[in-house]
């Protein structure tokens, strides 16, 4: 890579400098489970055939949204895929209209939408070329102090956000943006989601959105992932690391691809475009109760 390009994209520069900040090699996962179940150990070995690294996110109930945001913005940052950014901008606009037609007061969600758009623009332009490592580190320490509320804080996570120039409070705002988007999609297609929700909890769609989607810290289930993936038209792969195994045949690591249902619009075109991989570019590792980000070989 040319020096000029490196200057334009500091994050990519650091990543390519053989020392991806915040990412951990998959061997760290193996070390974590060294004395664990043989099934898990074997699955981690299989995982390492396809994936090189893992990025851990804070376990505060927002980990799915946070992982999704990071993986998505990082993808845009690295690919500078303007067509994708344009596509999602259209989707975000649709989501805004959804909330409006559902009767949400505009001022409750508009700030969250515009801050997400700012983040998207900032990774596209790759500005602020020269931030030294020392500066990044010291800024990240400041972030510890100004962290929201009482939650615990994972150090490497703070660092990632500084690399993205996203302070933690902004990160929480973006998590809330995804919660709005998810809630809007579930309410818009209440009939479709109702049976899923009935299977999960014993509540109405409205109550579910109010108590399990919109408040910060409420964890994400399949229903939420389907809704978010559909609403934004972004496919998400979730790789499951658990102790399940089947009796016959070799052990395999299961994954599930959440592929957005949207068909008539440009999102499907972008996904199936010739020469492009149809594999989702957002890949998350699920261990019961928690999501982290996985990086492909």
């Amino acid at each position: 890579m040319h020096i000029q390009q490196l200057q334009m994209r500091p994050f990519a520069g650091i990543t390519l400098g053989l020392k991806p900040i915040g990412q951990e090699p998959l061997s760290s996962l193996a070390a974590e489970f060294e004395s664990g179940s043989p099934i898990l150990k074997e699955k981690i070995r299989l995982l390492a055939e396809q994936y090189t690294a893992l990025r851990r996110t804070r376990g505060d109930g927002n980990c799915f949204y946070r992982s999704f945001m990071l993986a998505y913005l990082e993808h845009i940052l690295e690919t500078q895929d303007i067509a994708e950014a344009k596509r999602i901008t259209g989707k975000v606009e649709q989501c805004k209209n959804t909330l409006q037609s559902l009767g949400y007061t505009e001022f409750t969600y508009e700030d969250f939408f515009s801050i997400f758009m700012e983040q998207l623009e900032s990774v596209l332009q790759g500005k602020e070329a020269s931030i030294s490592m020392e500066e990044l580190l010291s800024r990240s320490r400041d972030q510890f102090v100004s962290d929201y509320g009482k939650r615990t804080f994972a150090p490497n996570f703070a660092l990632i956000f500084i690399l993205f120039k996203v302070p933690d409070n902004v990160c929480m705002v973006v998590v809330m943006f995804f919660r709005f988007v998810t809630s809007g999609e579930i309410r818009k297609r209440a009939e479709f989601f109702e049976p899923f929700i009935a299977g999960l909890t014993n509540t109405s769609v409205d109550q579910f959105c109010k108590s399990s989607v919109e408040p910060m810290g409420e964890e994400c289930d399949h229903v939420h992932i389907i809704a978010l993936s559909d609403a934004l038209g972004v496919a998400i792969r979730v790789v499951y690391l658990d102790r399940s195994s089947c009796d016959k045949g070799a052990l395999a690591v299961n994954h599930h691809d959440f592929v957005p249902t949207a068909s008539a619009d440009e999102s499907s075109v972008s996904l199936d475009a010739p020469g492009k991989s149809t594999e989702p570019f957002v890949t998350l590792l699920y261990r019961p109760g928690h999501y982290d980000i996985l990086y492909r070989r």
């Binding site: 001022f107 700030d111 408040p215």
Partner: protein, 203 residues
């Protein structure tokens, strides 16, 4: 059915809850065992939260809420206009046909630096209404003010929840653990520092 919260008992043996069912009492005692360490810590470090100025987002949002309130105030509520955006005093009149009909109370709503990401602090000023989920120090046991708060809510929607909580009450009385809880809050502790516990009730 609304989910309400009450603070955890200090002593598991003497736990009595207004209208609590055994089902929930069980959950409370289990979670108490799990969280007692955290709870103890919050007891020691309890001080009134330091007031930081509103963030830019908070300021903008509150100005919009104020305008919306002026155009379309929730019925039964009156905002006493002051020049303080960060602390609102709201007058509540009990709805007709309820135990609190024609009674007037005052709510104080204080907004944190990062409103609406963080919930506002909402308390009744003395004298707080007699209600099974309202403590005599004005603290209100209502989930949306704490764990279930969401930035999708507004001061106006909080008010609607509070009036519905008042309206559905069938007896005018304090929560069973009122005295103990109020004693604990003597140092001026905010209700947001209380670890509230799930407690289901029809009121």
């Amino acid at each position: 059915m609304r989910i309400l919260l009450h603070p955890p008992p200090r002593d598991r043996g003497s736990m009595i809850y207004a209208g609590s069912s055994e089902r929930f009492a069980l959950i409370i005692s289990l979670s108490f065992a799990l969280n007692s360490a955290l709870f103890q810590r919050s007891m020691i470090s309890s001080t009134a939260p330091s007031r930081k100025a509103l963030s830019k987002i908070a300021c903008g949002r509150l100005q919009k809420e104020l305008v919306e309130w002026q155009v379309n105030p929730p019925s039964g509520f009156k905002h006493k206009v002051t020049d303080n955006l960060q602390s609102w005093i709201i007058e509540v009149v009990g709805a007709a046909g309820t135990l609190y009909a024609n009674e007037t109370y005052q709510l104080q709503v204080d907004f944190p630096e990062h409103y609406p990401m963080e919930a506002p602090q909402v308390i009744f000023l003395p004298a707080a209404p007699l209600h099974p989920h309202i403590y005599s120090n004005g603290h209100i046991c209502l989930d949306i003010l704490y764990d279930s708060w969401s930035p999708a809510m507004t001061v106006s929607s909080i008010c609607v929840s509070i009036v519905s909580m008042l309206s559905s009450s069938t007896r005018k009385q304090r929560p069973a653990d009122n005295d103990r809880y109020v004693r604990k809050c003597k140092n001026g502790r905010s209700p947001k520092e209380t670890r509230w516990w799930f407690h289901d009730d029809k009121v």
